[in-house]
């Protein structure tokens, strides 16, 4: 299997070099670019497995590039933002980016995010329903692109990255039992969110968030096997 090719768009030369080096040390092939124009030229050279895109670029900014890129390609995108603000994050994810990385980031976090996105896209392929990516269950609404959970009464229920991943895994396997080991492995792919946290703790937190007055969360523990989301899931 050939090494995945990553296209890096970053205007700061030193940071570009450092990021490139980090990715290369982890076995990725990197094509560094400084501007949007260079990115388009580089895309013509050959297929790319993932684009790492800095949002603050001279000339065409990352948001516009992301939109243009998504219009003609399904290539996974992780954007790098110096703002780290919530609106930026949501805008980026809504434009079809697969994940985001806030500056400053460490090599570990960078590699973990890249690996997670590549694995997710590789394992599941691109979701056919990614246009909306809205899932409803038990009154809750989960927006996959925005990574946002809304309660039955419409309030935002905050989820950590690990909790979101766990919930999507449960939803993808709704009304089927998932083995604990499988869930542990899934949560490992998100290294930024602490790998040593036990799945049981995550499940109990998720249960608390999905509960409501006099109503238990629809997550069932199957003793000795794993967990199951025991409710009907509707995709829109």
């Amino acid at each position: 299997m050939t090494a995945p090719v990553i296209l890096l768009v970053e205007d700061d030369p030193a940071l570009r070099t450092l990021t490139t080096r980090s990715l290369q040390e982890s076995g990725y092939v990197v094509r560094p670019c400084a501007t949007g124009a260079e990115m388009w030229r580089s895309l013509e050279v050959g297929p790319v497995d993932l684009v790492l895109l800095d949002i603050m670029l001279p000339g065409t900014n990352g948001i516009d590039l992301c939109r243009a890129l998504r219009a003609e390609s399904e290539v996974p995108i992780i954007f790098i933002s110096a703002k780290g603000s919530e609106t930026d994050r949501v805008v980026g994810l809504e434009l079809g980016a697969d994940d985001y990385l806030a500056k400053p980031f460490g090599a570990r976090e960078l590699i973990a995010r890249v690996r997670a996105v590549l694995r997710r896209i590789g394992a599941e392929g691109r979701r056919a329903d990614r246009d909306s990516g809205i899932v409803t269950f038990d009154g809750f609404t989960l927006s996959l692109p925005r990574r946002e959970l809304l309660s039955p009464s419409g309030g935002i229920v905050e989820l950590t990255g690990a909790e979101f991943d766990l919930l999507t895994a449960l939803i993808d396997n709704a009304q089927r039992v998932i083995a604990r080991e499988r869930l542990i492995e899934l949560s490992r792919t998100r290294m930024g969110d602490s790998s040593d946290r036990s799945v049981d703790v995550l499940i109990s937190r998720l249960r608390r968030k999905l509960s409501s007055a006099g109503h238990e969360a629809p997550i069932i523990t199957v003793r000795g096997v794993g967990y199951m989301l025991n409710t009907e899931v509707t995709r829109r």
């Binding site: 450092l18 603000s85 919530e86 500056k103 980031f105 309660s151 950590t160 608390r208």
Partner: protein, 437 residues
């Protein structure tokens, strides 16, 4: 605030005092003039009447024979003057009568009385003046007379003063209203000046007299300059903070090349601290420039998630509030605020107990710690930006000292407030109280 109000009332008071003083002077002067001229008028009138009466009385009495004279004098007595013929027995005046001012006036009217040895005097009878006198007939007998009514000696009439006061009172009322109206822009200006620095949009309508308009225009221009200045500084600082993140990212990536694990860990911690500073600076500066819209959020879950994150770092933070409580809030700002409160609790103490509770129409986010609390006289300081309450600057102090200032702003943005309380059992309790909508 109180000072301003006193000054503005003082201006109105002063103007009214000026008005009052003018009115009083005008009133006194006119009263004196009026009284004096009317008194002179009355005296002229009196002298005229007396002169005529005396001429007629002298003629009629002189024409009568002596025995008829008392009867004639009796007939000449009117309800104004009492005329009496003294007869031959009394040829000298009872008293030597002065030839006073009244005498002169009578003579001015009737010069023919000059040769009759006329004596007229105003004499005080009680508090009033009474006119009496005598004149000699050609045969040497005396005709005496006196006024029946005391002469009005010109004491000011109180009813006249009251009537004169009425327009003055009206003038005062109208003056007060007009002054108030004229001064209203000043009050508006004072209130606006108090809001400078708190409200961003603050343009006053130009109204009132030209001088006041000029002041308002100058004020608006000044406020605009201050706003621009603040905005420029904020932008510059935010840009610096923002741009610092790229070199910070470089530093963090470079740190991977450090082979000594301990040194690498310390290096990473330093970068994280710098990043935290940049973040708090941006949060502090960006609070107003980029207002976050309120979103319906499960605040209890949000706060519990923050506590979970701390607990995962093996810190003694526990969430003990309701499982769910939804409210309209600015989630990023509020989350940062609660995060700052928890970090403060851990910084000054070792343990944080956090809860979210709704009661009626208020939502309370409570953070209890086991630290030393805050002395009552330092509470104000705690809310000041860039102020730390640590006695030693260098000892284990992280960040820029913006923590509580950011919390305070977030609370204000939610229409809420911060309440500090030193708990009886030790430690500080901070309540962020906001409306539950």
């Amino acid at each position: 605030m109180r000072w301003d109000r006193a000054a503005s009332a003082g201006l109105l008071g002063r103007l009214l005092a000026i008005l009052l003083l003018t009115l009083a002077i005008e009133f006194i002067a006119s009263t004196i003039l009026y009284e004096r001229s009317s008194r002179a008028l009355i005296r002229d009138d009196e002298a005229h009447r007396l002169a005529e009466h005396l001429v007629i009385a002298r003629k009629l009495v002189s024409e009568q024979a002596w025995p008829e004279r008392p009867a004639m004098a009796q007939r000449l007595t009117t309800d104004r003057y009492d005329v009496h013929w003294a007869g031959a027995t009394d040829l000298t005046p009872v008293r030597p009568l002065e030839r006073g001012e009244a005498f002169q006036r009578v003579l001015e009217w009737e010069p023919s009385l000059k040769d009759s040895d006329l004596r007229v005097e105003l004499a005080a009878v009680g508090r009033q003046a009474q006119l009496f006198g005598a004149l000699r007939l050609r045969d040497g007998t005396w005709l005496r007379f006196r006024a029946m009514e005391p002469i009005d000696d010109g004491q000011p009439g109180w009813h006249r003063i009251l009537i004169a006061l009425l327009p003055a009172t009206l003038l005062l009322i109208v003056g007060t209203l007009l002054f108030r109206h004229t001064l209203r822009p000043m009050g508006m200006l004072a209130r606006a000046a108090e809001r400078v620095g708190r409200a961003s949009e603050l343009s006053l309508p130009e109204a009132g007299p030209p001088e006041v308009r000029r002041v308002i225009r100058a004020f608006n221009a000044m406020h605009g300059r201050i706003q621009r200045l603040i905005a420029e500084r904020t932008q510059a600082l935010a840009a610096v903070g923002h741009d610092l993140r790229t070199p910070l990212a470089r530093l963090q990536l470079r740190s991977d090349a450090i082979t000594d694990p301990a040194a690498r860990r310390d290096f990473g911690r330093d970068v994280a601290e710098m990043e935290a500073m940049v973040e708090s600076l941006l949060a502090y500066l960006g609070g107003e420039a980029d207002p976050e819209p309120p979103v319906r959020t499960d605040v209890a879950v949000m706060v519990a998630t923050l506590c979970d994150a701390h607990a995962d770092q093996d810190e003694d933070v526990a969430y003990v509030g309701d499982d769910h409580l939804e409210a309209a809030c600015r989630p990023s700002g509020l989350k940062r605020a609660v995060s700052n409160l928890i970090e403060n609790a851990l910084h000054y103490g070792h343990r944080a107990r956090v809860s979210v509770r709704g009661e009626g129409d208020t939502l309370t986010i409570r953070v209890d710690d086991d630290g030393p609390g805050i002395a009552v006289d330092r509470l104000e300081d705690a809310l000041q930006p860039f102020v730390r309450l640590d006695p030693a600057r260098g000892r284990n102090t992280q960040g820029l000292g913006l923590g509580l200032a950011i919390v305070q702003r977030a609370a204000e943005a939610e229409g809420g407030r911060l309440v500090f309380e030193n708990r009886a059992e030790g430690g500080l309790r901070v309540d962020l109280v906001m409306p539950l909508r």
